[in-house]
């Protein structure tokens, strides 16, 4: 869209989640022209809100520690999703919930927001990758409530993956296959373990350990290595294409966490033990690397959706040298094959996440949601 229409209705915003992404988002929000009125800012234990019934003054666009100081705002414990929905739906204008958390409970309440006309903008994958029935419920509720759902950032960081797929389908093309690498962490680890060019002698466990130290993995690296986050993204893509996927764990997902180590608790002690034990399993990844080498190929962790057969899978794969997937190191990539495009796929590729980049993707979605409400 190239020319923002100027609307007159005020737009009210509630934000849940003030972690790295949430704070980067707040910071960006303060710099856009004509920002919406922020009336609620919440984290898992506390809520700041504009006083009712005026819904004024607004919450300042500041990090949590600053915003909480404002003397004219209401402060309370955590609100339930129903309380947040009621607060936003009762605002004197159109309202949008930006869910920057990864909270399943809040995601399960999306239909409640949408039915009451509150639009949703979120990078939270949970609502779209658990039960198929809930996924459908979300979009049915949006239609009934005349609200919108923008969740581009649930897949591929800021790459326009979902919007491109929706454009292709809306204009009558048929998606035949989607394949790619949808985990920046696994892209980086495999790219270092077996570079597309040159060689590496690094042991798998050392790479995981190093990536964790520099903040390129989840606090518990098993959350990256088990492939489930990747599988959630693939589930969302498949559903947007129109496939019926009962759950994000209802298809083959190859975990890079050895069975024995997956049973360790997710406590700090459990994670430490996992990191200590991981070197004992280096041989498994070494074997996979050699097997790829023997075929003249490159070892990668990829996902694929075959639309006709309905087959979806996530796991290690040997890919051709020189291919875009073989050349990855840290970037995510999605290859979209369609009837109209033929054998030349549409490719979207870009650097992983990070707070600022993810926040930027959420902001782009928010701007689109606002434009539709104005």
């Amino acid at each position: 869209m190239e020319s923002l229409r100027t609307g007159s209705d005020p737009i009210f915003l509630g934000i849940v989640g003030v972690g790295v992404v949430g704070n980067a988002f707040l910071e960006q929000l303060g710099r856009i022209p004509n920002p919406p009125s922020l009336i609620l800012l919440a984290r898992s234990t506390q809520t700041i809100s504009s006083p009712r019934p005026e819904y004024s003054p607004c919450v300042p666009f500041a990090v949590w520690d600053e915003a909480i100081k404002s003397p004219f705002l209401d402060r309370s414990d955590a609100w339930s999703p129903a309380e947040i929905a009621d607060f936003l739906a009762s605002a004197p204008g159109k309202a949008i919930l930006v869910d920057n958390s990864s909270d399943l409970v809040l995601a399960q309440a999306y239909p409640e927001f949408l039915e009451r006309g509150v639009s949703i903008v979120t990078p939270n994958k949970k609502g779209f990758s658990e039960d198929m029935a809930h996924f459908n419920h979300i979009f049915d509720s949006a239609r009934r409530g005349n609200a919108t759902v923008h969740h581009q950032c649930t897949v591929g960081g800021t790459l326009p993956v979902l919007s491109t797929l929706r454009d292709l389908i809306a204009t009558g093309d048929q998606i035949t296959r989607v394949e790619g690498v949808l985990s920046g962490t696994l892209s980086l680890l495999l790219g270092d373990f077996m570079p597309g060019h040159g060689t590496s002698e690094a042991r798998w466990s050392s790479l995981v350990s190093h990536a964790r130290e520099i903040g390129h993995t989840e606090p518990d690296p098993r959350d990256d290595l088990n492939g489930l986050d990747f599988a959630r993204k693939l589930t969302i893509i498949a559903r947007v294409i129109g496939m019926d996927v009962s759950r994000h764990d209802s298809f083959p997902v190859e975990s890079l966490v050895p069975d024995e180590l997956s049973r360790l608790p997710s406590s700090t002690a459990g994670v430490t033990e996992f990191m200590n034990e991981l070197p004992r399993y280096d041989g498994m990844m070494e074997e996979a690397k050699k097997a790829a080498e023997n075929q003249g190929k490159i070892l990668r962790y990829t996902g694929s959706i075959d639309v006709f057969s309905g087959a979806i899978k996530v796991g290690l794969q040997f890919v051709e040298r020189g291919s875009a997937i073989a050349n990855l190191r840290g970037s995510q990539i999605v290859n979209i094959y369609t009837k109209r495009y033929g054998t030349n796929p549409l490719i979207l590729q870009g650097g992983g996440g990070g707070g600022e980049i993810t926040a930027m993707g959420i902001m782009a979605d928010l701007l689109k949601a606002m434009e539709l409400l104005m």
Copy 2:
């Protein structure tokens, strides 16, 4: 956007241009749910329109030869842009002009449409790549007329190049550099002349001749080889980034048409003579290929924009083996470097144009324009 809001205002559509792209577009239009009311269909010599003042019945979504048969519609000679603008602006509802032509005169009249509230959807590059003043006039007029301009397809076929750039900028990122290959024809020719992998003994002139025979070049291949169409696309990108580019030929554009042959007329006889003479110049391309080979690189025809220095150029370049640009054959690619993305660019890559694919991109833009009007 994930949930189309249902609006009640009718949307009226006028389409100019019924060539390969225009007819593919008409065919797709008939298959979308809740299509707009087509009230005008025009080509360079004839116009079909719904009778005033009812603006009813509508023009059927059929190829020109079918649509012209409808007995209830008005038929006349070509209308001037001003007459078309008046007809659309007077329709009893919001109106959109889809310009599927490559007509400069119509493009120069866009401000007239927009001032009167008629939105524009178009793959026509002319209005956006000639004078900078006209480019600004288009968007100023859109603001004044509360209308929208969607021209994603002027760059990169159906790749979401412009929307991605606009999202990056709207959310506060800084574009630092854009580079890529924005001509499917030159991508194909160079990919065959010097493949990224393996070798080719094919002569340049034979490749041009073959590509022309199978319809992969403009009727006069010089329109591809002179780089000006590519330069128009780069101009549009630079302007969307916010750069001041006086014209599409105000920066260095390396033509692959030998000087002597560029002076031949564009008549059928001129084109035939061009094709006959081209083999005499094969040595020039052969030398460039050898020079790239000697540096261990790949010869490609690329464009680049350096935002800080303001340097824009289009021409032959030696690129690294194994890079995405080196591996191209027929696909277009755009690498976007930004402050937030750092050294890992955002990459958009996809198969070239073709009537169906271009029409699909125009349709995606039309759906967005309609959504904003509903």
